[in-house]
Point group: C2
Chain length 266, copies 2
Amino acid sequence: MAPDQSVNIDLVSATGATIRQLARVGTMTTGTGGLASGYHQANLAIVSKEYAHEFMVFCHRNPKPCPLLDVTEVGGTEFKYAAPGSDVLSDLPAYCIYRNGELVEETGDITSHWRPDHVAFLLRCSFSADAVLEEAQVEFALTAAPSGRLGAYLTNIRCEPSGRFHGHMIVSARPVRPGHEAKAASVTASYPLAHGAPIHVGDPLAIGIQDILKPEWGSDVKIEGDYVPVFWACGVTPQQVAMESRIPEMITHKAGHMFVTDLRLV
Amino acid sequence: MAPDQSVNIDLVSATGATIRQLARVGTMTTGTGGLASGYHQANLAIVSKEYAHEFMVFCHRNPKPCPLLDVTEVGGTEFKYAAPGSDVLSDLPAYCIYRNGELVEETGDITSHWRPDHVAFLLRCSFSADAVLEEAQVEFALTAAPSGRLGAYLTNIRCEPSGRFHGHMIVSARPVRPGHEAKAASVTASYPLAHGAPIHVGDPLAIGIQDILKPEWGSDVKIEGDYVPVFWACGVTPQQVAMESRIPEMITHKAGHMFVTDLRLV
C-alpha cells in the first residue's frame, strides 16, 4: 500500500504567505474571509500608469473607503512593504477585470493581462476589523455570515472626485445588537489599519440603501433578532468607481477574495 | 494734514488666509515661522504629471519626511482641502525652482513658470509641532531661533526610493533640556498633522551629522547650556531628493517660507 502523501493545511491558522502560495499554484480559489486570522487582508486595484496618479489622489481624498496600504513600482508585481516576495499576478484566489465600466472577466491569474505600464494598489480591508470587534465582545444579531458581516451595499454618498475618477461609496454592514453600537464605532475608529469609524449607524434609507436584506455585492441575507445596522466604508468602492467612471481598464480582486498580507493584526 | 491711512496687521495672530493674501499681493516676502500661530503650515512641491505619481508614491513610502496633506488636480492651482480659494502660484512668500538637481531661481511668484501639466503637493510641516511642544512645557536650551528650532541637516539616512526619486533624509533639530527628551518624543508622536515621533535622539554623528552648529539649511547656530539634540524628519527632504535624483524640474517653497493653510492646530 502506498504511504499517505496528502497534507492537511488549516487555512484559518495559516500565514498570509501560505494563503498566497496556495492561490499562486491554483489550489486556493475560494473567498478569504476568516482565513489566516492573524494577518491583514487587503483590496486590490490595478490601473495603467496613465490613470495611476489620479487614482492615488482619489484614495488620498477618500481615505475611509480607499485607505492606501501599498503601491507597486510602475510595472512592478511585488508589494514590497505589505508582502515581500509576493506576486500580484497570481497571489489572489480570484480577480475581476473591468473595461470601460463593465465587468468583462473573472479569472484566477492575470499574468496574461499584465503590462509594463500597470501599477497595483493595495487598500486596507474591513475584514481586519473582525478580530477587533470580537476582542471588544461586540454582539451581533444572528446571520449566516462570518463575524456578523453582511454583504456590501451601494449608497447615495458621493466620493470626492479626482480627475476622471468619481462615483458612490460602497459600504459593508454588520447587524449589531442594540446597545453595542457605540462600542462597535469606538473600537473600529481607533483601528488604523482598516476603514476606521463607521460611515453611518441606523436607518439604511438615510444613506440610500433600499433593502438591507439584498446587498448589491454578496448574497441575500437573513438576520434574526433585534439589531441596529452599522455601516463601514468598503474596499469594493474602487470597483464601483471604475464602473461609474467608465475607466478603460481596472483589475481588482473578486469581492471577498482578498490579497492576504504579511502584516500582523497585533 | 492727511489722515493716517496705514494699517497694522499682527502677523502672529493673523489667519492663514491673511498671510496667503499678503504673500499674493507681494507684501509678505519673509519667513513664516511663528506667524499665523493657530494654523498649520505646509511644505510645497510641484512636479510635472510625468513625475507626479512616482513622487506621490515616494511620499507614501516615506511618511515621516513627506507626510502628504493635499494635492491639486493636474494643472489645478487651488488646494481645495487645506485652503479653499488659495492660489499656489503666489500664496507663498518665496519659491525655489530646481532644474536637473540645481537650484536655478528664487522668486516670489511662479505664475510665469506654471504649466497645465503641473501638479502641486502640500506636505505637513514640523513648524506645526512648535505649539504642541510649548503646550507640553518641553524645555529647550537657549538659542537665537524661535521655539528652540535650529536649522535643517543632511543625514546619512536613505529614503525609500520610488521610481526616479531617491535621496537622503533631511531632519530638523531642537536642543531639548536633558530629561525632557521622552516628553518631546511622546507628544510629537501622537500628533498626526506633523512629522510624528523623532527620527533620532542624541549623538548627531549617528545619523551622519558632522556639526550641529552648522546646518546645511539655515544659518549657523549658537546653543547655550546643557542639551540633548532631538531630530525630526523635515519637509525640506523633497528638495534634497530633487537635487540627488536630478529631477528635470521641481518647484518648492523656499526653506522657512511656507504655505499657511486654513487648517487649525486645534
